[in-house]
Symmetry: C2
Subunit: 393 residues, 2 copies
C-alpha cells in the first residue's frame, strides 16, 4: 500500500536544461579536481549542478578546496545552454563524470524531478540517476570583493611551480605544508620551505595602493590543483581576493576557493646567508643532467646524496654505492670564484630546484661545506633557492 | 696487507667496445621486458652483454621468458658498434638501463676488466659499475631450427591481441593461463578461455608440408610481452621454432624465448553451440559504446552485469544499481532473426571481445538465455568469440 501511495504521489519538474556535451565535460573535469573520494561528508562526493537564468554553475568541494565552473548560455556567438526550468541537483561525482564523457550526442538534456530523480538523455541513451538534495550542499563562503589583486595567468602558474615543490610533506609543522605569500607595495613575495631547502619568488602584481597582506599561507596541495585547472595558453589575468581564512582565485568562468593555513609562518630571511666564500656560474641544463646521472648510483641509499667539488675551471660531481659502483663527471663552469670547496647535497633537492629555472645559467653561492647555499638564476633576481648540505666529506 | 696485495694484483681487460647510444638504449629496452625485479635468481637481475666479433648481444631473462637483442657492427651503411676486445659481462639491469638512457653523448664506451669492474664512459661522464660473472648467467636453450613456421609480424600481433585477453588470470588451472596453439596443414588455430568466455582465431602460416603441432600452450604473459617488442610497422615476417618445452620467435635482431605450459589443454570445440535460436547483426562500435555506457551503473556491483533484450528491429541494453540509478539504451540492429530473447552478461567480457574486432558489424548467435552465445565479426570467418551468460532474468 505504501508503494502504491508513493507512486501516485505527484512528482513535479525541479530543473530542466540542455547543454553542449563538450562544455559540460570541460566544467565537470574542472570541478572534479576538488572532489575527494575520501571525504567524510557524504554530500561532498557529489557535484552540485545549478541551472540559473544566465547559465549553469557546477560546484565541487572537499571542504579545503572548492571549485565553481560556469557555463554561460552563450559565448562568442555560440549557444551552449538552454534553460527550461531553473533549479539545482547534486549528483554522484564519479559516476556523473564517467557518464557525461561517454554520452553519444553533442547535446545533453538534464532534468530533475521533485524526488531528486535526474534524467540524463543524449541520443538514444537514457540515464535515471538518484540525485542528492542540493539544500544539503554546503554554501561556499561569501567573499567581499574589495582589494582585488590581479596577476597574469602564466605568471601565476610559473610562481606556483617555482615555489610549491619546496613545501613540507610532513604534518609535523602544518604551516610548512603551505606557501607563504606576503603582499606589499604592489609586490608579491612567495616562500616555501620544508626546513631542508627553500624556494622563493617575488613578482609585481596589480593591487590597490595600500593593499598589504602578511602571513597568508596557502596549502601547497591547493596551489597544485589551481595550477592544473588554469588554462596554459590564457593571456588573461586571474583576480585574487584574500580574507582572513580563505583565498579566492577568479579566472574566466572559474572560481577556485582555498582555505588558508593557520599559524605563523617562520621568518625565513634569517636563513639566507649574506656573505659567500665560493661562487660558481654554470650551465643550468649541463649541471642538472650531470646531477641526474650521478644520482643514479645514489638512489639505492635512502638519502640520494651526491658529492660536489670545485676543480680548476670545472666542478666534479660524484657518487658511489658499495653495491653498484661509482660515477664521476666533470662539468665546465662559466666562472669559479673564491675558496676551493667540497660539499655534499641531496641530488633530488638540487634537481627539484634546477628544473624550475628557465635561465641558461645559474649562480651558486656557498659559504662553506656546512652552511646552506644559494641558487639564483643568472639574469632573474626574483628567484632565490636555498639548499642545506649533508655532512659526508 | 691483504688490501695492498689485492690492489697490486694485475687486472686485465676482459671486454671493450663502443656503441651507438640510441641502438644500445633500444636493445636494453627490449631485453628489460624479460627482466623481473622479483626473481629469486640473483644473476637474472642483470642484463648479459656479449661483445662478439660480429656485434653486441644483450640478454634478459626471468627464466620463463628470455629475450636476446642483437646490435650488428653496421647496418644500412651506418656503423653502430666497434669491438676492441670481445668478451662478456653481466650488469644490474635496472641501473644499467637508467644510466644508458641518460648518457650525454651519442657514443658509449664500455670496458670490463678481469675483476668484473665495468667502466662506462660517454662525453665527460664516467661510471664504474660492479659487474656480475657472465659464467653464472644461465645458457639459453639451444633450439634446433628445423620446421620453421613463418608469419607476418602484424598478423602475429593481431592474433595475439584477439585471443590473449581471454586467458585465465587464476592459477587454479594453470593450463588456462596460456593460449592454445595447434598447427596443421599450414593453418594455425589459437584458442584462449578462462571458462567464462572464449576467443579463437585461425590464420594461414607458412610451414613445412607435414608440420603438425598439437597442444602447444604459450603463457598469456609471454605473448603480451612478445607483442610489445615486435615492431608495429614492420612488414617483415617472424620465424617460429617449437620444441617440446620451448617456443622461439625470431624477428630482425631479436630472439624471444618462452617456456610452454605443461598439461593438456581442454577440448574447447564441444563448448561451441552448433545451432542458434536468435541471431542478430549489429554495428560493432554502436553496440560496444552502448554496453560501455550501461556498464557505468553496473560497475559498483562486483559482477558488472548488463541486461539485453531484443525488440522490434532494435535491441535494448540496460542496467541498474539500487544506489546510483538506472540506464536504458536502444541500439538499431541491422538484422534480428529467430526467437525473442532476454539475456544478461558481463559488460566487461562483451567489451573485451568487441574491442578486438575490426569489422564494422558483428553477428551474435544465441541459443537461449542460459546457453553460451557466439560473437563473429561479419566478413571474417577466422575469428570466433564465446561468452557465457549470467542468470538474472
Amino acid at each position: 500500500m505504501q508503494d502504491t501511495a508513493d507512486q501516485n504521489q505527484e512528482t513535479s519538474l525541479a530543473m530542466k536544461f540542455s547543454i553542449s556535451k563538450d562544455k559540460l565535460v570541460e566544467g565537470v573535469n574542472h570541478v572534479m579536481k576538488a572532489v575527494s573520494s575520501r571525504t567524510t561528508i557524504p554530500i561532498l562526493t557529489g557535484i552540485k549542478i545549478n541551472a540559473g537564468l544566465d547559465g549553469i554553475t557546477l560546484t565541487g568541494s572537499d571542504s579545503d578546496v572548492s571549485i565553481k565552473a560556469y557555463i554561460p548560455l552563450e559565448e562568442d556567438d555560440e549557444e551552449y545552454v538552454s534553460i527550461e526550468k531553473p533549479g539545482s541537483i547534486v549528483l554522484q561525482a564519479r559516476v556523473f563524470s564517467d557518464i557525461v564523457k561517454k554520452l553519444p550526442s553533442d547535446t545533453v538534456n538534464i532534468e530533475a524531478d521533485s524526488r531528486l530523480i535526474t534524467r540524463i538523455t543524449s541520443g538514444s541513451s537514457e540515464f535515471n540517476l538518484n540525485g542528492l538534495d542540493p539544500e544539503e550542499y554546503p554554501r561556499l563562503p561569501q567573499i567581499e570583493e574589495e582589494n582585488i589583486i590581479t596577476i597574469k595567468t602564466d605568471l601565476l602558474k610559473h610562481l606556483i611551480r617555482q615555489t610549491v615543490f619546496a613545501v613540507s610533506t610532513s604534518e609535523t609543522r602544518p604551516v610548512l605544508t603551505g606557501v607563504n605569500w606576503n603582499i606589499q607595495n604592489g609586490k608579491l613575495d612567495c616562500v616555501a620551505t620544508d626546513s631542508h631547502r627553500l624556494a622563493s619568488r617575488s613578482v609585481a602584481v596589480e593591487s590597490a595602493e595600500n593593499a598589504t597582506y602578511r602571513n597568508i599561507v596557502i596549502p601547497g596541495k591547493s596551489l597544485n590543483e589551481l595550477s592544473k585547472i588554469l588554462d596554459d595558453n590564457s593571456g588573461e589575468a586571474v583576480s585574487i581576493v584574500i580574507t582572513e581564512s580563505q583565498i579566492l582565485f577568479k579566472a574566466k568562468n572559474l572560481q577556485f576557493f582555498s582555505r588558508l593555513l593557520d599559524g605563523n609562518y617562520p621568518d625565513t630571511d634569517r636563513l639566507i646567508p649574506n656573505e659567500s666564500k665560493t661562487d660558481i656560474v654554470i650551465s643550468t641544463k649541463g649541471f642538472l643532467q650531470a646531477i641526474d646521472r650521478a644520482s643514479l648510483l645514489a638512489k639505492e641509499e635512502r638519502n640520494n646524496v651526491v658529492k660536489f667539488r670545485t676543480l680548476s675551471g670545472e666542478v666534479e660531481i660524484s657518487s658511489q654505492s658499495p653495491e653498484l659502483g661509482r660515477v664521476f663527471e666533470n662539468v665546465q663552469a662559466e666562472e669559479i670564484k673564491g675558496e676551493e670547496l667540497k660539499i655534499s647535497f641531496s641530488a633530488k633537492y638540487m634537481m627539484d630546484a634546477l628544473s624550475k629555472v628557465d635561465s641558461q645559467d645559474i649562480r651558486i653561492s656557498f659559504t662553506g661545506a656546512m652552511r646552506p647555499f644559494l641558487i639564483r638564476p643568472v639574469g632573474d633576481d626574483g628567484i632565490l633557492m636555498l639548499i642545506l648540505p649533508v655532512r659526508t666529506y
